[in-house]
């Protein structure tokens, strides 16, 4: 008994965090697994909740709207990740060079990180405004015509508009991480390369890029997970439309679980989402370690 009492103070210090984690992370985590096999609803109803086995999963996999949301989310991720990361890396290299007013340029570039996402979305709603918004103004100026594009209302374009806004909103964050990675590469490597007659591209290819290996692993993982969780932009701007062309997995989970109150069904979606994100993280880590 006495030996247990010795641990009381340290356990007491640990307890608030443990209780909060159990209540708000571990219990919900297992509940979502459990609910996914039931027909649980958000609001209580006369018929009790029933265990329905795999029926939720069967229905989800048979729902074309679900597959549409998977397709859209993957499309978003595949388009956004390479553009966002190259823009982030390019601007990190630019802002790592010795320029006058470099602090000003850096300060400007991090502004999107400081702006709440809902404000960013609203500002871009004005830019996308059809037919007389800024983007259409630029489009008409470039093409010299008076045509306009319905940036959020055209099925083929809407997701690309979301991509553009998302890149603006998040590349500065990745840029900061690349900037820190660049500053950790020893300067003498570049000096040695200069003596050996390496040109700028060779320096990037043989020193900068390998030197950023760990940074790359981290940035690719967080960017991918962020892309798969796309929700806020879509929810405010299009609500998943037009014609489901911008529904994402989280938007699909939200509209089934919250708007239609089908907690059981939507929990099955969140289980699928969890498995996708977790296994992607594992796969990515393994791939990049073997490189």
């Amino acid at each position: 008994m006495k030996s247990y009492r010795r641990f009381l103070p340290e356990v007491g210090m640990l307890l608030p965090a443990i209780i909060l984690m159990v209540v708000f992370i571990f219990i919900p985590f297992f509940l979502s697994g459990y609910f996914s096999f039931t027909n649980e609803r958000l609001m209580p109803r006369p018929i009790p909740t029933q265990w329905i086995g795999l029926r939720n999963y069967e229905r989800i996999l048979a729902d074309s709207e679900f597959w549409m949301s998977v397709k859209n989310t993957l499309y978003f991720a595949i388009v956004v990740i390479p553009i966002q990361l190259s823009l982030a890396l390019a601007s990190a290299i630019l802002l790592n060079s010795k320029l006058k007013f470099i602090a000003v340029f850096r300060g400007i570039t991090i502004l999107p990180i400081l702006t709440p996402i809902t404000v960013i979305v609203v500002i871009w709603a004005a830019i996308f405004q059809t037919p007389d918004g800024l983007l259409n103004g630029i489009y008409q100026w470039l093409t010299g015509s008076s045509d306009y594009i319905d940036w959020l209302g055209d099925e083929a374009i809407a997701m690309l508009s979301i991509v553009l806004l998302s890149i603006w909103a998040s590349f500065p964050f990745q840029m900061l991480i690349y900037l820190a990675g660049l500053q950790e590469i020893p300067k003498d490597r570049y000096e040695a390369a200069e003596i050996d007659g390496f040109n700028k591209w060779q320096q990037f290819r043989y020193i900068t890029f390998p030197g950023l290996r760990n940074t790359n692993i981290f940035v690719v993982i967080i960017t991918t997970i962020g892309a798969l969780s796309l929700f806020t932009q879509v929810n405010i701007l299009t609500g998943g439309g037009p014609n489901g062309s911008t529904t994402t997995i989280i938007q699909y989970m939200f509209s089934n679980g919250f708007s239609s109150q089908k907690i059981g069904y939507a929990s099955a979606v969140s289980v699928i989402f969890f498995i996708a994100v977790a296994s992607l993280g594992l796969l990515q880590r393994r791939l990049m370690r073997n490189e």
Binding site: F105, T118, I123, Q140
Partner: protein, 274 residues
């Protein structure tokens, strides 16, 4: 080469600045017809008129009480940051300097939590808080985010690097574990505290999925969600919408630009070394 770099830096800055300048410009224009007429040209991001009519309208809108939203945000943020500092640092110190063998299992459990995306937990959480009648309260916006595996991990990394001699000396002086934490470790960990505050603040500032599910009316709604609702009900009133956006974003932007150095260090330090 150098000129070309300035040119690129200028292009990059414009890409970032134009949307933000556009919000300010539109917010200063009292005439909605004017705003719409200018929207497609450079006049949409370079102010032509300076009027605060839209700001007055935002602050006096009875359906969207800006002052109340601001108060809600301030309350939720300050309580969240204070409690999260205490809860996470306290747990981390116990994990770093406690004596039980059980600690490594808890640490492993906490690290495994990092792999769970928050989005996959919101539905059961929503059901739990509605059963507990917590919907539309401040508590429901504060409690779920308090204990944070990543913050515990950051504090743990820092605390485990404190020299053992220092901790032992405190014990010899008769300090309990909690006193050692409070009087020695916590004051030392100021940089981690700043990082946690900044990251947690950005988290609250950008959270959307959880608050829209658990706040039904304006009573306890925070600014970030209110922005979306305000936009939803005033879609064509661009002047007012942008005044709302500027009012909520500018103070925070200015504050972080003042502490820019620390801000950048927090974001990069926590991610690369973590």
């Amino acid at each position: 080469m150098q000129y070309f770099k300035y040119f690129l830096a200028f292009i990059l800055s414009m890409f970032i600045l134009i949307p933000l300048m556009m919000a300010v410009t539109i917010s200063l224009n009292p005439s909605n017809t004017d705003i719409l007429a200018n929207m497609g040209s450079w006049k949409s991001f370079i102010p032509q008129v300076f009027s605060f009519d839209n700001y007055r309208a935002v602050w006096s809108d009875p359906y969207h009480p800006f002052g109340l939203y601001l108060f809600n945000t301030f309350l939720i943020t300050s309580i969240s940051l204070t409690l999260s500092l205490v809860v996470n640092s306290c747990a981390a110190f116990s994990l770093a300097w406690g004596e039980g063998k059980y600690r490594k299992y808890i640490l492993a459990a906490i690290i495994s939590v990092l792999a769970i995306p928050g989005e996959s937990l919101v539905l059961p959480q929503l059901l739990m808080v509605s059963k507990a009648n917590l919907v539309d309260t401040y508590a429901v916006q504060i409690l779920p985010g308090l204990a944070n595996a990543f913050f515990i991990f950051l504090f743990y990394q820092f605390f485990s690097k404190i020299p053992k001699d220092l901790i032992d000396a405190a014990r010899v002086d008769g300090f309990s574990l909690f006193q050692t934490y409070l009087k020695i470790a916590l004051p030392l960990s100021k940089p981690v505290c700043v990082t946690v505050c900044i990251l947690h603040f950005l988290g609250i500032w950008n959270s959307y999925l959880w608050p829209i599910m658990v706040t039904r009316g304006p009573e306890v709604r925070p600014l970030s969600v209110a922005m979306a609702a305000y936009f939803g009900s005033n879609q064509t009133q661009w002047g007012n919408v942008m005044a709302f956006a500027v009012c909520m974003a500018i103070p925070v932007i200015i504050f972080f630009l003042i502490i820019q150095r620390q801000f950048i260090a927090s974001i990069t330090g926590s991610s690369v070394k973590g």
